[in-house]
Point group: C2
Chain length 237, copies 2
DNA sequence: CGTGAAGTTGATGCTTCTCAAGCGAAGTGG
DNA sequence: CCACTTCGCTTGAGAAGCATCAACTTCACG
């Protein structure tokens, strides 16, 4: 566990926080008094699989990977999260967390105990409704992912991952940096392949003028072509 | 659309219905008056991808596959559903359905218009809470699936699918029939492989004395060994 | 500099998909 | 009642895709 550095919710600069967005001032105060903010260093683990569910986590700043451990300890990255996102909602109604979460860069994370969180939920119907909508959206995303992992080729999955990384971290779509520096292994864990394959396909994309590589940084030069490469089935809805 | 044959919710034999379970008698009456029950023949499609979201569907009787269309029209089966299960909840908060659903056998399905459903939700906090818990569970299942599709071998995925089919349709786990007759192609669409691979691995399992085949029927003879074959990572939580 | 970790690249072999041929059961029409 | 077609299943051979392994390079950092 990292260093604690509380901040008052009423003065929180983060207007899009999943927790605060649907709360009135009474509950803002409640949360402010009951939460605990913690700082995590890059690489530090925030949630461990099989850890007892103690509460909900909200990212105040920084970027986080959410992943599941599989065969031979191989990781499958499920989601990339950023400021304002909720972490640990997968622990809802469970004894232990089914996922792990680790900081991709230095992070500040707010924590609310599960009992307090449920109290907030039950007193704010609008929030319960919104949380339900959030879960529904996560389910949608997860099912698209499941299909893509099952059906796409490695080249397509790598292309798809680059687009998804950019969408996770950059507000504007289009060309430009993908917003975070991941290792080849991490991109592989996201795409469902190996670090060597990622290396090769990134080299291909570079040769084809679709992306630009500078160290760990990746710039998209032709997002449209990348999407075509990914065999994009436009998802409606 | 199939034949309409309404039934009164108050007299509905299905005590586990996702819709009725958390309703008091007032709302039971409301639902009874607002719903529409429809019969679907085996093979008939109940929900189409990109169909406008009109409401929620609940299975009164019969078995259903929920799937997503992918590359080259290849289907990825996401879920097998049975009596009492909700269908179309993936359309929540969307314009069009992101999934398709088709009857695996003759089915009766109850339908509630989306406006009525939202009214029920907003008037029954307990139900909203339960629906949220349901989404959370679906998300958990989907993420386990995503990891398995990405990391398991074909042999493991076929074994895993057999166990999952049985769990979807038979209350008691253990040895015995898997509860539904699917084509090889459908098993492949579930496992994320091809019908030929399914055929081969089923033959292997039979030779190894793990399963029994009679036509399309599949009996598990040694579920434990099947689970070991599937490389089961026990899922905690 | 020197060391170790991460990334690249090529060779190799295994897994899986694809294609094609053959089989059998179920249904159709003469 | 029996050819005839059709459809799904099985099985094998060949090809393609992918993971693994190993050698080498690059980069960060003491």
């Amino acid at each position: 566990m990292g260093k604690r550095t509380n901040i008052e919710c009423e003065k929180c600069p983060n207007k899009d926080c999943s927790l605060l967005r649907y709360c009135n001032s009474t509950w803002l105060k409640f949360i402010s008094e009951h939460k605990a903010c913690t700082t995590y260093k890059k690489g530090q683990q925030i949630i461990y699989e099989r850890m007892l569910v103690d509460g909900m986590y909200f990212i105040l700043s920084g970027k986080v990977k959410v992943y599941k451990t599989g065969i031979n300890g191989k990781q499958q990255i499920l989601r990339l999260s950023k400021t304002g996102d909720i972490l640990g909602h997968r622990g809802f109604n469970r004894k232990v967390f089914p996922i792990s979460a680790a900081a991709l860069e230095d992070c500040k994370v707010c924590f609310i105990e599960i009992d307090d969180f449920e109290q907030i939920l039950k007193s704010n119907p609008e929030m319960a409704y919104q949380l339900m909508a959030f879960y529904a959206e996560e389910l949608f995303i997860s099912e698209v992912r499941a299909r893509n992992l099952a059906q796409l080729t490695v080249r397509e999955k790598v292309a798809d991952s680059l687009v998804k990384i950019r969408e996770s971290f950059e507000v504007n779509t289009g060309n430009g940096p993908i917003g975070v520096e991941l290792s080849r292994q991490e991109i592989a864990d996201l795409a469902g392949t190996t670090k060597e394959q990622v290396s090769k396909h990134l080299a291909d994309f570079k040769d084809e003028g679709i992306i630009e590589l500078n160290g760990r940084g990746i710039n998209l030069l032709d997002e449209e072509r990348l999407k075509t490469t990914a065999g994009f089935l436009p998802e409606f809805g």
